[in-house]
Symmetry: C2
Subunit: 436 residues, 2 copies
Amino acid sequence: MTAPPPRSAAPDVPAEAAAARDAALEVVTTLREAGHAAFFAGGCVRDALLGLAPSDFDVATDAPPDRVAGLFRRTQAVGAAFGVVLVHQKRGKRRVATEVATFRTDGVYTDGRRPASVSFATAEEDAARRDFTCNGLFWDPLHGQPGGAGDPRADAEGVIDFVGGRADLAAGLLRAIGDPAARFAEDHLRLLRLVRFAARFGFAVEPATEAAARAAAPRVAGVAAERVGDEVAKMLSAAPPAPAAAAALLSRLGLADRVLGPGQGGPPAALAALGPAPLATAVAALALDRAGSPAAASGLIRTRWAPALSLPNAVADASTGVLDALHALRGWGTLGVAARKRLASMPTFRDGPLALLRAVDPQAAAAVASDVAALAGDGVGLAPPPLLDGRALIAAGLRPGPAFRTMLDAAYDAQLEGRVSSPGDALEVAEASVSA
Amino acid sequence: MTAPPPRSAAPDVPAEAAAARDAALEVVTTLREAGHAAFFAGGCVRDALLGLAPSDFDVATDAPPDRVAGLFRRTQAVGAAFGVVLVHQKRGKRRVATEVATFRTDGVYTDGRRPASVSFATAEEDAARRDFTCNGLFWDPLHGQPGGAGDPRADAEGVIDFVGGRADLAAGLLRAIGDPAARFAEDHLRLLRLVRFAARFGFAVEPATEAAARAAAPRVAGVAAERVGDEVAKMLSAAPPAPAAAAALLSRLGLADRVLGPGQGGPPAALAALGPAPLATAVAALALDRAGSPAAASGLIRTRWAPALSLPNAVADASTGVLDALHALRGWGTLGVAARKRLASMPTFRDGPLALLRAVDPQAAAAVASDVAALAGDGVGLAPPPLLDGRALIAAGLRPGPAFRTMLDAAYDAQLEGRVSSPGDALEVAEASVSA
């Protein structure tokens, strides 16, 4: 079943989307009044038909880019070779940019990534060059309006469907437009887009599309690391159960080992049990499913995913931090008070390692959560400001050096454990820690 | 008192630092064997003297950049105009880059940001061009080694101090090197570095330095947004109580209104009560302290901080999401089951809005946490996969349109509230939601 993204608690996110929609509607209206064909295109049509809330509203038109640029006050050519123009508008206090693409056909793809040339074309040809049928729909926002400005090819709801996308949406099928083998050969990234869309919408993959994807799977190795990483991040950022569905589909299509490195072939149990979580936690869960243990999962992220997925350092560090803490959480009962407090003071403790522990061992997670609440209320707290610092050691006549760190650690441990509560007592512990 | 950064649970973070230190030591050794002066310089010396764990180890030398490049196999000129060379080494499986800067004096600063020219110089001149005394120290890692390779200017611990930095470290004083007014005039960003270092180490600001900073405060308006934002992010990413100390110091020096926009002048209560938290939560806490209410704080972030601090969209969205959810959490008791479950399913719920609520109203936060645990265990769960999706509506013969979203929302609400537990019942609720 489809998992809609969690409804945001932010009241102005719908306002952002409404402004984007209004801006795109104005672009369509202006183009139509100037005698051009112009529709909403692609993802926003698909999402609206599925009852999801689109965030971007792209426009497709038969007006060539210089004509588009001439009809609006502020425009910017972003993909000049592809005929894409950004139209900037101000809606109230918001600045909104609408992407306007001229109908085109793509020439031969010579590099498995993008066409060597494009030619401007009809709406039907434009639909035919897109990747999957659910992404090849147009919608006429002026349909059914008084004055009869609507496009005659639109159906009863205003949808213009040259590729059978409506039927596939209704059937829950992800299907390549035209010859599936050719579509994957043109742009190997489509292998991962297939997985992402199928997982996000809970769709089945149409058999010929699946066969072509399996056959093309080895080609995914040639896709640039940052493009692969971007797709994987999108898969893992979707609301559950889409991330686990994506992981399972990657395996089924023979993509998992190529994209994620050789790994355990079983179902993605940790990812499947994880609730809505930050990206770093989802990355950690998938790595755990692939590698088996927290330590092996950390190694997988550092040695393979960081380079092969062009994972930003912040994400790699955060996800290995989650795994290392998970490893420590599994031995929670053997840790002293100071070690437990230090773990629980990670800035992302609750939505990171504790959430992952909840996925793999809910009872252990409940025990940890209850112990953390007790530690936080013990009068000292989880992360009090230290009683002692390096300056105090210097003031006490000690010579700075590597021993300072040992001394400060010992003093802070004693503080966390409630054994000292004054700088003087902390200093005694610090001095004792190196005189032994 | 100093707050050391929370000790990471990641066992390989110390290994990273150890590799960086070993690599820098090898660079120093090679330079010295080639007849050059070469020391550890700047932040790593300061941190080591304070008993903190340095992460970067920079080297300063009298060897000119082309000489440095000639002594190592893999080098890269990164600040050619400033004489900075990266030396790349492999330590085990890690790639480590050591920054090697040639001793220099800076020419006249014409743009309040960087010198128009630099000249290579002596170690003493190099120390004198740095910003604060605690950052102007060198350390000789070969000091006291057999063979007498140590530098004769080093003190008993191997520290080479041309600027009085050791005494200021011992006294807990942040002091500009040389003429404070001139140092701030050279580079206005130093106003914010002053705040960050003083807050992080719990240091007092030396009176002449503070007077010069107050006088120069208006100049901070000319610093590029991304440089300001980077400093503010570092202030807020430090372990408590440094973020609140930084906010208070910004106010005292007359920088707060200029950097953060006009705001409430009181102490940063929410930030001060916040435990270790992700950056977005700290940003939300500071905005709440400045603006007074969650709604005003969201507005402050969107309309002022996003542009003036060049805040990444992801951080702005995450922090306004925290504030909007905080607003909703304050009315927790008035929300229905579905609304509470949707709130609690935010991926960053626990380290975001719940952590901020804990800072501003601990009792309310405890009540919410206990209610969330109950909701999670009610048999339905916080975020179950939806029973109904757009495809099921189409299959039931319904025409896609804007009503789909209303219908799916109603069905999911009913599911979260335990009123329906089958797709058939969910469909009935969906249909009833639009037939009324």
